[in-house]
């Protein structure tokens, strides 16, 4: 049965709902207020690896904004065919667990190719991993480490942690 113009319009309008639909001004103001206070944020960690084949970088989340870690990406330049980076992320002095494990030994850190792997080495460029959920807090220290198996030369890498920050004011 061919729908009439009125029926098609009615179907279209019925799909306009939630934040995507016709709302009262009060509702839209509430939506914008929430949008102002909840936003995405990236934290970038440069991981230049020199001798003795590991690198450490720190960042502090924004003061006054609660940060929830929800995703991560990593990529390395300059990798040889048999070089495999390992990634560890920890939260010094607060949360005992971590998204990418860092044990007592550097080889406890997760192999980047297994966690993020899509293309493998060399020249890693990984898809974003989105199955993280770590409610941290504000002004929160994050420590990122990387180790390189089979070090033969310096390597440049980056770890990008992505999350949502929320203004509590």
């Amino acid at each position: 049965m061919v729908k009439s113009q009125t029926q098609r319009l009615a179907a279209f309008l019925s799909e306009l709902k939630g934040p995507h639909g016709i709302k009262s001004r009060q509702d839209q103001e509430a939506f914008f207020e929430r949008a102002k206070r909840v936003r995405t944020k990236d934290y970038i960690f440069p991981l230049d690896i020199h001798q003795p084949n590991f690198s450490t970088a720190y960042a502090t989340t924004m003061a006054g904004w609660f940060f929830i870690l929800t995703g991560a990406s990593v990529y390395f330049e300059d990798l040889g065919a048999m070089q495999f980076p390992r990634i560890a992320v920890t939260f010094p002095s607060f949360v005992p667990s971590s998204p990418f494990d860092a044990g007592a030994d550097k080889f406890d850190a997760v192999p980047a190719g297994l966690v993020f792997g899509r293309e493998g080495v060399p020249g890693l460029h990984f898809e974003e991993q989105k199955n993280l959920f770590y409610p941290l807090g504000d002004a929160f220290n994050i420590k990122a480490e990387s180790y390189l198996d089979n070090y033969v030369a310096d390597a440049r890498g980056y770890l990008l942690l992505t999350g949502v920050e929320i203004d509590w004011k």
Binding site: T6, L9, A10, L13, L16, P19, H20, G21, I22, K23, S24, R25, Q28, E29, F32, A35, K36, V38, R39, T40, K41, D42, Y43, I44, D48, H50, A59, M62, S73, Y75, E77, D78, G80, R118, G123, H125, E127, E128, A153, D154, A155, R156, Y158, L160, V164
Partner: protein
């Protein structure tokens, strides 16, 4: 006229007159990152209403190159970006992010599939600030670099709220 038709008419009038609706909007800009330069581009957003960014896509060229310690020459973009809104002056990343890390997975000059999800609200008449850094990186041992201008195309995708006013 039936009650249904009256309801539809009222909704359409509400959309037209009160402008309380939203529409999809692609906000696009091309940037040429000049070699050995760093700076900030200030780009006016639409004055039609607030823009709620849901994400972005980035394409870039790889005219620059580097020669590794092993003597292999490969193309690399070197460009780093940081976005922020002028109104809140809050950067969307704590530092410059290499364009490769937030842009098209895959080969140079390829189109991106999907969208990098990233939520940020821009008020009506706000300005998008793009900080870029296209200078030679600190050299790794044995590496040399050759920088050229790079063209970067960005599409910011989201919802536009016409005539809502300044949020």
């Amino acid at each position: 006229m039936s009650a249904i038709s009256e309801g539809i008419k009222q909704k359409v009038l509400d959309m037209k007159e009160a402008q309380r609706y939203e529409k999809r909007y692609d906000f696009t800009r091309s940037v040429v990152a000049k070699k050995d330069e760093a700076g900030t581009l200030s780009i006016p957003m639409t004055t039609e209403g607030p823009f709620y960014m849901l994400g972005y896509n980035i394409m870039f060229t790889k005219n620059s190159s580097k020669t590794t310690a092993g003597g292999t020459t490969i193309n690399a973009p070197f460009t780093k970006l940081r976005f922020r809104a002028e109104s809140d002056n809050c950067a969307m990343s704590n530092d410059y992010v290499p364009v490769e890390l937030i842009a098209t997975p895959g080969a140079e000059d390829s189109s991106r599939y999907g969208m990098r999800e990233f939520n940020h609200l821009f008020g009506k008449g706000d300005r998008l600030m793009i900080d870029f850094d296209h200078r030679e990186p600190d050299a790794l041992a044995g590496e040399t670099y050759s920088l050229e201008d790079e063209k970067i195309d960005i599409v910011f995708t989201g919802y536009l709220y016409p005539d809502f006013g300044n949020v």
